[in-house]
Symmetry: C2
Subunit: 369 residues, 2 copies
């Protein structure tokens, strides 16, 4: 059906390698045309995503959902999206009929993720949803169930799971270069401007833990390969200037993992807090600076062969400029759609973070559903 | 009385500046000869201290207490200490009669600090005691009471309170360069060798929190100028290799300060964990790498005048080599003795850390007196 033999073989080989049988129907769909994404919510991160898709070769922007028709038309022209594929929030369910749209990218405020994921699933579209997945554990379960029911894939946009520096850090740990891991430190935050939806309970679903602290939480999980089992936390609000009327400004927390690894984390919407993590092992340490869209820097110092061997040091920065992370992420979901694979960061990955966020909030004495 | 008029005036001026009336008797004592220290315990840190004293101009080593006479005699020869000023742990109380000894430096394992501080005070000597001050809150109180009773000064050897990079970091915060502080991250630890007294409850008094975690705890206090009021903690032991039969291997903890500042900390005896702290404020951040004896590096990035001004960046390392920190510390206590001033890090500073360590241990579910 338009797949060249070579393309077909490649897809088959990839599928077999990963232990999956390629879905011929899906593969056929994705053959001559690229996998089409409809972007729901045209804010800052959507811009990164669309540019990432555009610079890649496997996906394309084929629909837009926005409350601002003018803005949507401008962007549609930029990405070659027909005006007939521009939807409002009210009529987006009509995209069911739009064959050029295979998947949606949900880039709305957190509290809207569940509704638009579920509506998209019901419209028969695969869903790539930004993190945090939603604003409660029950919503996360509903999203997973809805996608399962509709037989569409659900991936949470944990872009760093597809980023080479991050993957290298994980591999170094898995390969035992740092010895036995004992502890992880991580923080991520920024000084939020007044009026941002992120610092409202209604749209953000919580404070900085939801949008930026989640990077530290998720990092401790991909670095250890374990799920935290004990949580302690404290929260505070220092600035009484209207930004934090419905959420906390700061949260510090600790987590204990089954192996005994301890993590100590911090997040804020009130201070310049460049993202980082440090991993401490019996043979050495590594540190990655920034959870940002580019320039992730990995430094490490470890002594491979006991005390008498000399230390290995590492200091390297991923040179790929933004929006490469978004390109990689879209490519992954596209391959999952084409090959009928489960994404590396499925809904269940987002659900786990929501469960842990709930545990952290409860430890801090803050209610969270 | 041997003080030149110029020296006297200088001391008087310093005393007046600090709001203290110089103690003429003490000043007179310290005039022609340097203030004399008897070092109790001749381990690694004592070596740094003695070299620090030697390179300074205000103090000298005038006595030694050791269980190893040979070692003590070798060191005595090195520092010009008469063999008559070498004591054993049993007969050290005789130093009361030794006029060349003004003060002692207690550099023993933690659990011995209280006994030897109190015995030294009873022998009429001022006491400079290593941190942690002791191994329980009640011991700390007894040490303070004993020194008060004996009318001798007690200083805890928090050497970083006298270290220029640390003082600069504190001043930058106090001057408001980082804006309103929201959060602090800190960690400190190392992978301890088998057989070290530090990882035994009997001599260390606890796990890594006692000897290395205390740096992070103390840093959060000198950086904020506040006392933490809420604590959460988790502890774990991963390595079952005999090193941690009586104490925990790892502790992660959070603290909330009255202003709302949150601290997130980690300590270990099982991993390479270079000491550091990061301070996050509304206008920027600073970071100091290492709690070590030299090469403290201060980096900072802050935007002084709101969003439209450009960021100021800082990256500087204190060039003073070891044992300069020990020289500065000894000089401070010597000046306190000469001028009858209260040390900047008196017994009460150590007591506060013991109280907070107790709070952290209790939060982790570990009993601590």
């Amino acid at each position: 059906m338009g797949l060249t033999r070579r393309e077909f073989s490649r897809l088959g080989a990839l599928g077999a390698m990963a232990g999956f049988v390629p879905d011929l129907r899906a593969s056929a769909q994705g053959s001559e045309r690229k996998v089409g994404y409809c972007v729901i919510g045209l804010g800052r991160i959507a811009d990164h995503f669309m540019r990432g898709v555009k610079q890649g070769s496997t996906s394309q922007i084929t629909g837009l959902v926005s409350g601002h028709r003018d803005k949507a038309e401008r962007i549609a022209a930029q990405y070659g999206v027909p005006t007939s594929s521009i939807y409002s929030y009210e009529d987006m369910d009509r995209m069911r009929e739009n064959k050029s749209i295979d998947a949606v990218y949900v880039a709305l405020p957190n509290s809207m993720h569940a509704e638009y994921t579920i509506r998209s699933a019901k419209a028969g579209k695969h869903v790539l949803c930004e993190k945090p997945m939603c604003v409660s554990v029950s919503e996360a379960r509903e999203m997973i169930a809805a996608c399962k029911e509709a037989n569409v894939k659900l991936m949470i946009a944990y872009r760093l799971h597809y980023e080479p520096t991050t993957l290298k850090a994980i591999k170094m740990i898995q390969d035992g270069l740092l010895g036995k891991i004992q502890a992880i430190d991580s923080a991520n935050g920024f000084n939020i401007a007044p009026g941002e939806w992120r610092s409202t309970k209604k749209l953000g679903g919580g404070g900085p833990l939801m949008d930026v602290g989640i990077y530290s939480l998720n990092a401790t999980r991909y670095l250890t390969g374990e799920e935290p089992e004990k949580f302690t936390a404290v929260a505070s609000t220092i600035d009484r200037d209207g930004r934090f009327d419905t959420t906390e400004e700061n949260t510090a927390w600790t987590m204990r993992f089954p192996s005994g690894v301890l993590a100590s984390c911090n997040t804020t919407y009130g201070a310049a807090m460049p993202g980082y993590y440090k991993v401490f092992g019996s043979k050495g340490w590594l540190e990655v600076d920034s959870f940002g869209y580019q320039n992730l820097r990995l430094r490490a110092n470890y002594t491979p062969e006991g005390k008498n061997s000399s230390a290995t040091t590492l200091d390297e920065t991923n040179p790929e400029p933004d929006p490469k992370q978004f390109e990689r992420q879209a490519d992954h979901f596209t391959q999952c759609i084409l090959q009928n694979k489960t994404p590396k960061t499925p809904g269940e990955e987002g659900l786990r973070d929501m469960q842990h966020i709930q545990s952290i909030y409860r430890a801090a004495g803050i209610s969270f559903d």
